[in-house]
């Protein structure tokens, strides 16, 4: 979708195509993009990791009794995710807290960094989110089989339902289980891509003098909404990881 995104730029009324911002380009030179090419994705992922390290390592390194601003943010994020893992996956899910925390911090920071003007949103690409979601899916499935052996298959067999309904429900459960990595990844990428494209569409309208005040107000409002969505989507990704973990740890309904 990135390679063909600018094909309609000349025919449309807009100065630039709203999907142009999702193009992967090499950071140095104009060569083709290979596996090891340093691109803008590499740069913004590095920036994401740097910001996380700065916040979590430097922010909490002084361990002040009266927390500084950065220490407060780090402690808030830690507390929020820890409580969520404990509430949703149960006491024995706490062991997998580092996984959920890593996913949440990576996604929330790449979402927020993507909101900077001229920035590239790494999570707007299905390739990035699919790796995260597929990792969670494989991890959860393998964990379920390690913990319960073939008893893990009872996650598809709902014991509390009437016996006649169980095969039908099992079919639905199997489909919904295997659709998980798809919906998990596309929810995040779709939300990010749609939000940024809408901002760009309104930015294109700002060039027309008659409606530019309305357009600038709309950009401000949508930007505020996008800040909210950036956080909520990271939270939803983390909470769904917890739900899947709970299914792997306690497959019996």
């Amino acid at each position: 979708m990135t390679t063909e995104s600018n094909s309609g730029a000349s025919e449309g009324g807009l100065v630039f195509h709203p999907m142009d911002q999702f193009k992967v380009t090499p950071l140095f030179g104009d060569g083709p993009v290979g596996i090891f090419t340093v691109t803008n994705v590499t740069f913004w992922m590095g920036a994401t990791l740097l910001c996380i390290v700065l916040l979590l390592v430097l922010g909490t390194s002084r361990r002040a009794l009266i927390p500084t601003r950065f220490q407060s943010i780090a402690e808030l994020a830690y507390g929020l995710i820890f409580k969520m893992v404990e509430d949703v996956s149960g006491k024995d899910g706490v062991k997998y807290f580092p996984l959920v925390m890593t996913l949440f911090m990576f996604i929330v920071f790449s979402n927020f960094l993507g909101l900077l003007p001229m920035a590239f949103t790494t999570t707007s690409h299905i390739a990035v989110t699919a790796v995260l979601a597929m990792g969670v899916f494989l991890f959860v499935t393998i964990l379920g089989f390690i913990k319960h052996g073939f008893g893990f298959l009872s996650v598809f067999w709902i014991g509390s339902a009437p016996l006649v309904l169980r095969p039908v429900l099992a079919l639905i459960e199997i489909i919904s289980y295997f659709v998980r990595p798809l919906s998990h990844s596309i929810r995040l990428a779709g939300n990010m891509m749609a939000g940024h494209a809408v901002i760009k569409v309104f930015a294109g309208f700002a060039a027309i003098a008659a409606i530019s005040p309305f357009s600038i107000v709309a950009i401000t409002a949508i930007y505020a909404l996008e800040v909210l969505v950036a956080f909520i989507q990271a939270y939803v990704f983390a909470i769904l990881t917890c739900v899947y973990l709970k299914d792997a740890l306690h497959p019996h309904h």
């Binding site: 979708m1 909470i239 769904l240």
Partner: protein, 78 residues
């Protein structure tokens, strides 16, 4: 000519696929609305259920996202 008709069909299909997002909007609205009407009756129990509300929103939203995916596929992959 033939390619034009195929492309026209793809664009019409992409537009039609977007109507699926309306269903997701209704679903998310129902989830949050019912959560609020329950939460206002028993505010002390509401705080513990926000996580459940977000899970419900995520599931309702997933199907709208699928229609978005179909639209994208028709726009860029067909």
């Amino acid at each position: 000519m033939e390619g034009d008709i195929v492309q026209m069909g793809a664009y019409i299909g992409a537009g039609l696929a977007c109507t699926g997002m309306g269903g997701a909007a209704v679903g998310v609205g129902l989830v949050v609305g019912n959560f609020l009407s329950g939460a206002l009756r028993n505010p002390s129990a509401a705080a513990g259920q926000t996580a459940t509300m977000f899970i419900g929103i995520a599931f309702a939203e997933a199907l709208g996202i699928f229609s978005f995916l179909v639209a994208l596929l028709l726009m860029f992959a067909v």
